[in-house]
Symmetry: none
Subunit: 219 residues, 4 copies
């Protein structure tokens, strides 16, 4: 009898204690992670919609359903939110680009890269919109911008070599046209809904194929 009582007591006590004791480190860490993501996600949405300067911390907090103070519990400043968004997003984006296998591009790899680029843009339209607007209005971020650009240069070399291997008489010129096509397609996809992106992708790839085949023909 006494035994049962003791057990009961222990149980009750342990329940009591569980309630009164602070959350575990894991729980806190989980809360922090989720809240940070919530804030960044909300901020990205507003930044992309209205621009960085036109978005106030109050708006972010309100839309995220938290107090302004809490946002500052997670980020030192509004600027830091922006920086973390750029960093996190660009990390996520660039982890998908990995074509530096052997330094040589096969036909397959080349078209894979093109398609990957379209995917990249299409899936992160909101981010790219923000990214563009930020680059346009902030001089502070120039270094970050450079580093993002520099990550692409190896790809350029690969493509140039690929064009040469395909018999291009004017590899630089062809690359200029191809990158202009990709740039144009990106801008169209990011900033307007004028063309359906699948159709655009199809036509652009066809155009690139024609450029490559033209070279062969002419040779």
């Amino acid at each position: 009898m006494h035994f049962f009582l003791t057990v009961l007591n222990l149980t009750e006590r342990s329940i009591k204690i569980k309630i009164m004791s602070p959350r575990s480190a894991k729980q806190y860490s989980e809360i922090r992670k989720q809240k940070k993501e919530l804030i960044m996600e909300t901020a990205l949405e507003l930044f992309a919609q209205n621009g960085f300067h036109a978005t106030s911390m109050s708006q972010i907090a309100k839309k995220a359903g938290i107090s302004k103070g809490l946002a500052y519990n997670y980020f030192q400043s509004k600027n830091e939110i922006l920086e973390e968004i750029l960093e996190t997003s660009s990390k996520e984006i660039y982890k998908n680009i990995d074509i530096n296998h052997d330094g040589i591009l096969t036909d397959e790899e080349f078209y894979f890269f093109i398609k990957k680029t379209f995917q990249l843009i299409n899936r992160n339209r909101r981010f790219w919109k923000l990214y563009t607007s930020v680059v346009l209005q902030t001089n502070i971020l120039e270094e970050k911008n450079k580093s993002m650009v520099e990550k692409l240069t190896p790809a350029f070399d690969l493509i140039r070599n690929f064009l040469i291997s395909k018999g291009s008489k004017d590899p630089d010129g062809d690359m200029m046209v191809i990158s202009t096509l990709l740039k144009g397609a990106s801008v169209i996809m990011i900033f307007s809904d004028f063309y359906p992106s699948e159709l655009l992708e199809e036509k652009i790839i066809a155009a690139i194929q024609r450029i490559l085949s033209n070279n062969n023909v002419t040779v």
Copy 2:
């Protein structure tokens, strides 16, 4: 004698000050026009450089060498400066596009249009930069943006017809590729110095020609 001269001087001075006389009115109107242009020019420079929100009226006034009060004498608000810049610039830009002669595009006219587009971009890079950044950070201007786009639609029809007349089997697809090329070239010219614009123009025109000739070949 000396007395009269002095009086005369005074009189002249008072005329200068006087607003009523017809000649002064013209002069003042001229001054007003020049001041307005000065303010808009200065504002455009700062807006393009630092963004609309990051540019203060104080900065504009200081850089223009006038007082803040005077700026408000010419414009009702900072926003109005922006709007007038956009309006004035776009007017100036679009007055150059006037291909609605007979509804039919000759080869000459088509390439003239392409070249004109390059000129248009190249000569107003600062404006286009501002324009892009403004469109990116302000929802207020969406209507204005639409109206700018709509002005281009007649051109689209003309080009489409032209492509058909050139034997294009896929006029919509070809137009998509051509406008993508122009869009991409614009963005490259506006936002980077990576390619020299003359070279870019040459390559893009060549690419467009190839698209057109390809059609013929296939037919």
Copy 3:
């Protein structure tokens, strides 16, 4: 066997957690006392270093190695921490002043009081620094300040009587000079390292002796 040990362990643990048992109560009381002291000690250090307003509860909690919430478990407010520091420290300080034996000061007792004063200052420089800065920036504490001052008035009377008994022709004037000397020495000791405190003490005591002997001589 192992099972029992485990059970035992559990039991022991549950005892530890249990608040009711007499021994634990004492232990917890001890813990509370230590924690309070830790918080006050930490706060005093930061307050004296950076000022009351410039020190945040976060800083105190972090430096003390506890959570903010716990600090509020021991003190109702940041202000209360300050008040308790002032109270506790002043109690500790004043408990050393106890010359109200018979209402008469002997030579020995007088110089003991002077030396005690130097000790008092020297051993609690940090506290006095805080005390001064707090008195300087808070009007709220004025009453407390008064009460601290009032505790000293009996001492004043004693000294005045002592000076008279030593044949002072101007006891109030002499007391003014002596207290000015002590005040000056206190300030120098608290706020600068310009003079070594032992030397300062020696010179001040010598000066006081001269004041007293001067009186005798003149009489």
Copy 4:
């Protein structure tokens, strides 16, 4: 007749113009000067009363009868107000200390310096209160503090030489006592109304005289 009319017109016009034309540079400069002084005076009062941190810009603006914004038109930050107060006041104070005539102190000059010191403290009690509190709670201002202290060192040398010339057997010790007396008197004058300052000054000077005469006697 016409002549008179013209004159009249001119007068009227000039009045009109006078009313409408902006203030002259001199007028603006005068306004600025007065407003700055008003703000600094108000801030000094509040800083000295409640401490720097406990005083908000709102309080300053309200008490000065201006908007917060205007205060920032004259000072870049709250800190700058403090710095200008310290600088302006200390300049004003130190311009009165100028005893470096020939490097030698006569009796007259010595007592003049003592009296001057009392005057200096007495007339600027509010400033010295602020100054002390600022030194106590701000680490940033340490350099400024040093420079204020260093301005006094030549005076120290002069006094030391003076004491030697007066036959002091222990010039350093005597100086220690004298500066302790002055320090103590300063603190008493600044922070309490316990003694009337004239009486205090009299007694302190008498005490110093006794120190000097004592030396002679002993020699």
